[in-house]
Symmetry: C2
Subunit: 194 residues, 2 copies
Protein backbone atom coordinates (compact mmCIF):
# COMPACT_ATOMS: atom_id res chain seq x y z
CA UNK A 1 0.00 0.00 0.00
CA UNK A 2 1.78 3.12 -1.24
CA UNK A 3 1.07 6.81 -0.80
CA UNK A 4 1.12 7.46 -4.55
CA UNK A 5 -2.66 7.70 -4.95
CA UNK A 6 -3.30 10.00 -2.02
CA UNK A 7 -0.39 12.28 -2.87
CA UNK A 8 -1.47 12.66 -6.46
CA UNK A 9 -5.03 13.38 -5.32
CA UNK A 10 -3.69 16.18 -3.15
CA UNK A 11 -1.34 17.54 -5.74
CA UNK A 12 -4.17 18.04 -8.14
CA UNK A 13 -5.16 20.95 -5.88
CA UNK A 14 -2.05 22.16 -4.04
CA UNK A 15 1.72 21.77 -4.36
CA UNK A 16 3.65 20.36 -1.39
CA UNK A 17 7.34 20.59 -0.51
CA UNK A 18 9.22 17.39 0.30
CA UNK A 19 9.13 18.19 4.00
CA UNK A 20 5.42 18.77 3.96
CA UNK A 21 4.89 15.54 2.07
CA UNK A 22 6.98 13.63 4.58
CA UNK A 23 5.16 15.15 7.52
CA UNK A 24 1.78 14.40 5.98
CA UNK A 25 2.54 10.80 5.16
CA UNK A 26 3.96 10.27 8.66
CA UNK A 27 0.45 11.02 10.00
CA UNK A 28 -1.36 8.46 7.86
CA UNK A 29 -2.40 5.05 9.16
CA UNK A 30 -2.95 2.30 6.59
CA UNK A 31 -5.84 -0.09 7.07
CA UNK A 32 -7.54 -2.90 5.21
CA UNK A 33 -11.31 -3.13 5.21
CA UNK A 34 -13.09 -6.36 4.28
CA UNK A 35 -16.30 -6.45 2.34
CA UNK A 36 -19.12 -5.87 4.82
CA UNK A 37 -16.77 -4.75 7.59
CA UNK A 38 -17.67 -1.57 9.45
CA UNK A 39 -14.90 0.94 9.83
CA UNK A 40 -16.86 3.57 11.75
CA UNK A 41 -20.13 2.94 13.53
CA UNK A 42 -23.17 4.86 14.56
CA UNK A 43 -23.08 5.93 18.18
CA UNK A 44 -19.31 6.28 18.47
CA UNK A 45 -17.35 9.47 17.80
CA UNK A 46 -15.55 9.35 14.45
CA UNK A 47 -11.87 9.06 15.24
CA UNK A 48 -10.49 9.38 11.72
CA UNK A 49 -11.08 11.03 8.41
CA UNK A 50 -10.89 8.33 5.74
CA UNK A 51 -9.23 8.32 2.32
CA UNK A 52 -10.06 5.41 0.02
CA UNK A 53 -6.88 4.08 -1.55
CA UNK A 54 -8.52 1.14 -3.30
CA UNK A 55 -11.93 -0.50 -3.31
CA UNK A 56 -15.21 1.08 -2.28
CA UNK A 57 -16.93 2.17 0.94
CA UNK A 58 -20.37 3.47 1.73
CA UNK A 59 -21.71 5.67 4.48
CA UNK A 60 -25.29 5.31 5.62
CA UNK A 61 -27.74 6.55 8.20
CA UNK A 62 -30.15 4.24 10.03
CA UNK A 63 -33.45 5.94 10.86
CA UNK A 64 -35.79 5.31 13.78
CA UNK A 65 -37.75 2.73 11.76
CA UNK A 66 -34.44 0.93 11.30
CA UNK A 67 -34.27 1.71 7.58
CA UNK A 68 -30.84 2.47 6.13
CA UNK A 69 -30.31 5.52 3.95
CA UNK A 70 -27.14 5.71 1.90
CA UNK A 71 -25.50 9.10 2.18
CA UNK A 72 -22.55 8.51 -0.07
CA UNK A 73 -20.40 6.00 -1.84
CA UNK A 74 -16.65 6.52 -1.85
CA UNK A 75 -14.30 4.87 -4.32
CA UNK A 76 -10.58 5.24 -4.91
CA UNK A 77 -9.44 8.81 -4.46
CA UNK A 78 -12.33 9.99 -2.26
CA UNK A 79 -12.40 11.19 1.32
CA UNK A 80 -15.28 10.02 3.46
CA UNK A 81 -16.55 9.90 7.04
CA UNK A 82 -18.90 11.80 9.32
CA UNK A 83 -17.56 15.36 9.35
CA UNK A 84 -19.86 16.49 12.09
CA UNK A 85 -18.86 13.75 14.48
CA UNK A 86 -15.21 14.07 13.45
CA UNK A 87 -14.93 17.79 14.12
CA UNK A 88 -17.07 18.02 17.24
CA UNK A 89 -16.23 14.54 18.59
CA UNK A 90 -19.90 13.79 19.24
CA UNK A 91 -21.39 10.31 18.60
CA UNK A 92 -21.78 9.69 14.90
CA UNK A 93 -25.18 9.16 13.30
CA UNK A 94 -23.58 7.35 10.36
CA UNK A 95 -21.99 3.99 9.77
CA UNK A 96 -19.26 3.47 7.17
CA UNK A 97 -18.59 0.02 5.78
CA UNK A 98 -16.75 -1.72 2.97
CA UNK A 99 -18.72 -2.65 -0.13
CA UNK A 100 -15.71 -4.57 -1.37
CA UNK A 101 -12.35 -5.51 0.11
CA UNK A 102 -10.65 -2.13 0.33
CA UNK A 103 -7.59 -0.25 1.49
CA UNK A 104 -7.88 3.08 3.26
CA UNK A 105 -5.64 5.71 4.80
CA UNK A 106 -6.82 6.98 8.17
CA UNK A 107 -6.10 10.51 9.35
CA UNK A 108 -6.85 10.74 13.09
CA UNK A 109 -8.49 13.83 14.52
CA UNK A 110 -5.38 14.98 16.39
CA UNK A 111 -3.22 14.48 13.30
CA UNK A 112 -5.64 16.49 11.18
CA UNK A 113 -5.36 19.34 13.67
CA UNK A 114 -1.57 19.23 13.70
CA UNK A 115 -1.52 19.07 9.94
CA UNK A 116 -3.71 22.13 9.52
CA UNK A 117 -1.69 23.98 12.17
CA UNK A 118 1.73 23.20 10.73
CA UNK A 119 0.96 23.17 7.00
CA UNK A 120 -1.55 25.90 6.09
CA UNK A 121 -1.55 24.63 2.53
CA UNK A 122 -3.75 21.84 3.83
CA UNK A 123 -6.30 24.41 4.91
CA UNK A 124 -6.43 25.33 1.26
CA UNK A 125 -6.62 21.73 0.17
CA UNK A 126 -9.52 20.87 2.47
CA UNK A 127 -11.22 24.17 1.70
CA UNK A 128 -11.28 23.11 -1.95
CA UNK A 129 -12.37 19.55 -1.14
CA UNK A 130 -15.24 20.72 1.07
CA UNK A 131 -16.24 23.40 -1.42
CA UNK A 132 -16.49 20.82 -4.18
CA UNK A 133 -18.44 18.43 -1.97
CA UNK A 134 -20.80 21.20 -1.05
CA UNK A 135 -21.47 21.92 -4.72
CA UNK A 136 -22.14 18.22 -5.30
CA UNK A 137 -24.52 17.95 -2.35
CA UNK A 138 -26.47 21.01 -3.43
CA UNK A 139 -26.76 19.51 -6.86
CA UNK A 140 -28.07 16.30 -5.36
CA UNK A 141 -30.76 18.18 -3.46
CA UNK A 142 -31.89 19.97 -6.62
CA UNK A 143 -32.00 16.67 -8.46
CA UNK A 144 -34.07 15.00 -5.80
CA UNK A 145 -36.60 17.84 -5.93
CA UNK A 146 -36.80 18.50 -9.65
CA UNK A 147 -35.89 15.34 -11.56
CA UNK A 148 -37.92 12.15 -11.95
CA UNK A 149 -36.59 8.90 -10.56
CA UNK A 150 -35.80 7.70 -14.08
CA UNK A 151 -33.62 10.73 -14.69
CA UNK A 152 -31.91 10.43 -11.34
CA UNK A 153 -31.11 6.78 -11.92
CA UNK A 154 -29.68 7.45 -15.37
CA UNK A 155 -27.58 10.32 -14.08
CA UNK A 156 -26.33 8.18 -11.25
CA UNK A 157 -25.16 5.54 -13.72
CA UNK A 158 -23.54 8.16 -15.87
CA UNK A 159 -21.79 9.82 -12.97
CA UNK A 160 -20.60 6.68 -11.17
CA UNK A 161 -20.32 4.04 -13.92
CA UNK A 162 -17.80 2.01 -11.95
CA UNK A 163 -20.08 1.69 -8.93
CA UNK A 164 -22.74 -0.61 -10.36
CA UNK A 165 -20.35 -3.52 -10.32
CA UNK A 166 -19.71 -3.19 -6.57
CA UNK A 167 -22.98 -1.92 -5.25
CA UNK A 168 -26.10 -4.05 -4.69
CA UNK A 169 -29.17 -2.44 -6.20
CA UNK A 170 -30.86 -1.97 -2.89
CA UNK A 171 -28.13 0.47 -1.92
CA UNK A 172 -28.45 2.36 -5.17
CA UNK A 173 -32.19 2.57 -4.51
CA UNK A 174 -31.48 3.89 -1.06
CA UNK A 175 -29.05 6.47 -2.42
CA UNK A 176 -31.73 7.59 -4.87
CA UNK A 177 -34.28 7.79 -2.06
CA UNK A 178 -36.62 5.04 -3.30
CA UNK A 179 -37.40 1.41 -2.41
CA UNK A 180 -35.56 -1.46 -4.13
CA UNK A 181 -38.90 -2.69 -5.49
CA UNK A 182 -39.50 0.58 -7.23
CA UNK A 183 -35.98 0.74 -8.66
CA UNK A 184 -36.65 -2.68 -10.10
CA UNK A 185 -39.70 -1.34 -11.91
CA UNK A 186 -37.81 1.70 -13.13
CA UNK A 187 -35.07 -0.49 -14.54
CA UNK A 188 -37.58 -2.60 -16.39
CA UNK A 189 -39.32 0.46 -17.79
CA UNK A 190 -35.98 1.78 -19.05
CA UNK A 191 -35.00 -1.59 -20.56
CA UNK A 192 -38.25 -1.81 -22.48
CA UNK A 193 -37.87 1.68 -23.87
CA UNK A 194 -34.54 0.93 -25.54
Amino acid sequence: MTTATILSAIQRHVTLTDDETAFFTSLLLPQRVRQGEMIEREGEPTRCFIFVNAGCLMTYFTDKEDVDHVIQFATTGWWTGDLHSFTKQVPSIYTTKGLADSEVWLLPKASMEQLLERVPRFERYFRIIFQNSLITQQHRIIQSYSATVDERYLQFREKYPSLEQYVPQKYIASYLGITPEFLSKVRRRLMEKS
Copy 2:
Protein backbone atom coordinates in the same frame (compact mmCIF):
# COMPACT_ATOMS: atom_id res chain seq x y z
CA MET B 1 -23.52 50.09 6.89
CA THR B 2 -20.61 49.03 9.08
CA THR B 3 -18.27 46.05 8.97
CA ALA B 4 -19.03 45.09 12.58
CA THR B 5 -21.31 42.17 11.72
CA ILE B 6 -19.10 40.56 9.12
CA LEU B 7 -15.96 40.95 11.22
CA SER B 8 -17.54 39.40 14.25
CA ALA B 9 -18.84 36.52 12.10
CA ILE B 10 -15.29 35.90 10.94
CA GLN B 11 -13.73 36.25 14.35
CA ARG B 12 -15.92 33.52 15.70
CA HIS B 13 -13.71 31.17 13.68
CA VAL B 14 -10.31 32.84 13.18
CA THR B 15 -8.36 35.75 14.67
CA LEU B 16 -7.22 38.52 12.35
CA THR B 17 -4.48 41.14 12.78
CA ASP B 18 -5.33 44.79 12.21
CA ASP B 19 -3.57 44.72 8.84
CA GLU B 20 -5.47 41.67 7.72
CA THR B 21 -8.72 43.22 8.85
CA ALA B 22 -7.96 46.41 6.94
CA PHE B 23 -7.03 44.50 3.81
CA PHE B 24 -10.15 42.37 3.99
CA THR B 25 -12.53 45.27 4.49
CA SER B 26 -10.88 47.16 1.62
CA LEU B 27 -12.05 44.34 -0.68
CA LEU B 28 -15.72 44.47 0.33
CA LEU B 29 -18.36 46.26 -1.71
CA PRO B 30 -21.51 47.37 0.11
CA GLN B 31 -24.83 47.00 -1.66
CA ARG B 32 -28.51 47.43 -0.88
CA VAL B 33 -31.01 44.90 -2.17
CA ARG B 34 -34.72 45.71 -2.34
CA GLN B 35 -37.41 43.18 -1.62
CA GLY B 36 -37.90 41.16 -4.79
CA GLU B 37 -34.74 42.48 -6.43
CA MET B 38 -32.42 39.93 -8.02
CA ILE B 39 -28.80 40.25 -7.09
CA GLU B 40 -27.48 37.35 -9.16
CA ARG B 41 -29.36 35.71 -12.00
CA GLU B 42 -29.51 32.36 -13.68
CA GLY B 43 -27.49 32.24 -16.88
CA GLU B 44 -24.81 34.74 -15.84
CA PRO B 45 -21.55 33.87 -14.11
CA THR B 46 -21.65 34.74 -10.40
CA ARG B 47 -19.32 37.67 -9.95
CA CYS B 48 -19.40 37.91 -6.17
CA PHE B 49 -19.70 35.87 -3.06
CA ILE B 50 -22.39 37.45 -0.88
CA PHE B 51 -22.50 38.14 2.85
CA VAL B 52 -25.86 39.18 4.30
CA ASN B 53 -25.36 42.13 6.62
CA ALA B 54 -29.05 42.70 7.30
CA GLY B 55 -32.34 41.39 5.92
CA CYS B 56 -32.89 38.14 4.11
CA LEU B 57 -32.11 36.64 0.70
CA MET B 58 -33.04 33.41 -1.00
CA THR B 59 -31.37 31.36 -3.69
CA TYR B 60 -33.46 29.22 -5.99
CA PHE B 61 -33.21 27.01 -9.03
CA THR B 62 -35.76 27.15 -11.88
CA ASP B 63 -36.30 23.75 -13.50
CA LYS B 64 -37.22 22.94 -17.11
CA GLU B 65 -40.94 23.01 -16.26
CA ASP B 66 -40.36 26.53 -14.96
CA VAL B 67 -40.93 25.57 -11.34
CA ASP B 68 -38.75 27.28 -8.73
CA HIS B 69 -36.97 25.24 -6.08
CA VAL B 70 -35.56 27.08 -3.08
CA ILE B 71 -32.02 25.96 -2.31
CA GLN B 72 -31.36 28.15 0.67
CA PHE B 73 -32.42 31.12 2.69
CA ALA B 74 -29.74 33.45 4.02
CA THR B 75 -30.29 35.87 6.86
CA THR B 76 -27.94 38.19 8.71
CA GLY B 77 -24.53 36.62 9.18
CA TRP B 78 -24.73 34.08 6.33
CA TRP B 79 -22.74 33.76 3.14
CA THR B 80 -24.64 32.82 0.02
CA GLY B 81 -24.30 32.53 -3.75
CA ASP B 82 -23.66 29.88 -6.40
CA LEU B 83 -20.29 28.43 -5.44
CA HIS B 84 -19.97 26.41 -8.61
CA SER B 85 -20.52 29.36 -10.88
CA PHE B 86 -18.38 31.59 -8.67
CA THR B 87 -15.33 29.34 -8.66
CA LYS B 88 -15.46 28.13 -12.24
CA GLN B 89 -16.98 31.28 -13.71
CA VAL B 90 -19.56 29.31 -15.66
CA PRO B 91 -23.17 30.51 -16.08
CA SER B 92 -25.09 30.11 -12.85
CA ILE B 93 -28.10 27.80 -12.57
CA TYR B 94 -29.38 29.74 -9.55
CA THR B 95 -31.00 33.10 -8.96
CA THR B 96 -30.55 35.01 -5.71
CA LYS B 97 -33.06 37.64 -4.68
CA GLY B 98 -34.10 39.73 -1.69
CA LEU B 99 -36.99 38.49 0.42
CA ALA B 100 -36.91 41.78 2.31
CA ASP B 101 -35.03 45.03 1.90
CA SER B 102 -31.50 43.98 2.75
CA GLU B 103 -27.88 45.04 2.95
CA VAL B 104 -25.10 42.83 1.67
CA TRP B 105 -21.33 42.84 1.36
CA LEU B 106 -20.03 41.65 -2.00
CA LEU B 107 -16.67 39.93 -2.34
CA PRO B 108 -15.74 39.78 -6.04
CA LYS B 109 -14.05 36.70 -7.46
CA ALA B 110 -10.69 38.42 -8.01
CA SER B 111 -10.76 39.84 -4.48
CA MET B 112 -11.51 36.44 -3.03
CA GLU B 113 -8.49 35.05 -4.83
CA GLN B 114 -6.21 37.83 -3.61
CA LEU B 115 -7.55 37.42 -0.10
CA LEU B 116 -6.84 33.68 -0.01
CA GLU B 117 -3.41 34.26 -1.53
CA ARG B 118 -2.32 37.02 0.83
CA VAL B 119 -4.06 35.94 4.04
CA PRO B 120 -3.97 32.15 4.44
CA ARG B 121 -6.05 32.49 7.59
CA PHE B 122 -8.96 33.01 5.23
CA GLU B 123 -8.35 29.60 3.73
CA ARG B 124 -8.99 28.33 7.24
CA TYR B 125 -12.04 30.50 7.67
CA PHE B 126 -13.67 29.36 4.45
CA ARG B 127 -12.62 25.78 5.07
CA ILE B 128 -14.63 25.91 8.29
CA ILE B 129 -17.57 27.69 6.65
CA PHE B 130 -17.78 25.16 3.81
CA GLN B 131 -17.29 22.26 6.18
CA ASN B 132 -20.23 23.43 8.30
CA SER B 133 -22.40 24.01 5.23
CA LEU B 134 -21.56 20.54 4.00
CA ILE B 135 -22.67 19.05 7.30
CA THR B 136 -25.92 21.01 7.08
CA GLN B 137 -26.59 19.92 3.49
CA GLN B 138 -25.98 16.27 4.30
CA HIS B 139 -28.36 16.59 7.18
CA ARG B 140 -30.95 18.07 4.87
CA ILE B 141 -30.64 15.14 2.47
CA ILE B 142 -31.11 12.65 5.29
CA GLN B 143 -34.14 14.53 6.49
CA SER B 144 -35.74 14.62 3.08
CA TYR B 145 -35.29 10.86 2.76
CA SER B 146 -36.18 9.69 6.24
CA ALA B 147 -38.54 12.21 7.86
CA THR B 148 -42.19 12.88 7.06
CA VAL B 149 -43.21 16.28 5.76
CA ASP B 150 -44.76 17.09 9.13
CA GLU B 151 -41.46 16.48 10.87
CA ARG B 152 -39.50 18.41 8.29
CA TYR B 153 -41.80 21.39 8.60
CA LEU B 154 -41.59 21.42 12.39
CA GLN B 155 -37.82 21.15 12.29
CA PHE B 156 -37.63 23.95 9.78
CA ARG B 157 -39.61 26.19 12.11
CA GLU B 158 -37.45 25.24 15.03
CA LYS B 159 -34.22 25.76 13.16
CA TYR B 160 -35.13 29.03 11.43
CA PRO B 161 -37.73 30.64 13.71
CA SER B 162 -36.98 34.13 12.43
CA LEU B 163 -37.62 33.18 8.81
CA GLU B 164 -41.37 32.65 8.95
CA GLN B 165 -41.96 36.36 9.30
CA TYR B 166 -40.10 37.19 6.07
CA VAL B 167 -40.79 34.20 3.93
CA PRO B 168 -44.07 33.54 2.08
CA GLN B 169 -45.30 30.00 2.69
CA LYS B 170 -44.94 29.00 -0.92
CA TYR B 171 -41.18 29.41 -0.59
CA ILE B 172 -41.08 27.39 2.60
CA ALA B 173 -43.04 24.69 0.77
CA SER B 174 -40.52 24.83 -2.04
CA TYR B 175 -37.62 24.58 0.39
CA LEU B 176 -39.27 21.51 1.95
CA GLY B 177 -39.77 19.99 -1.51
CA ILE B 178 -43.59 20.06 -1.51
CA THR B 179 -46.38 22.13 -3.09
CA PRO B 180 -47.87 25.13 -1.26
CA GLU B 181 -51.26 23.36 -1.26
CA PHE B 182 -49.83 20.42 0.56
CA LEU B 183 -48.04 22.59 3.09
CA SER B 184 -51.41 24.15 3.76
CA LYS B 185 -52.86 20.73 4.56
CA VAL B 186 -49.93 19.91 6.78
CA ARG B 187 -50.31 23.14 8.71
CA ARG B 188 -53.97 22.46 9.30
CA ARG B 189 -53.28 18.91 10.40
CA LEU B 190 -50.73 20.21 12.90
CA MET B 191 -53.04 22.96 14.17
CA GLU B 192 -55.81 20.45 14.84
CA LYS B 193 -53.53 18.12 16.71
CA SER B 194 -52.57 20.71 19.27
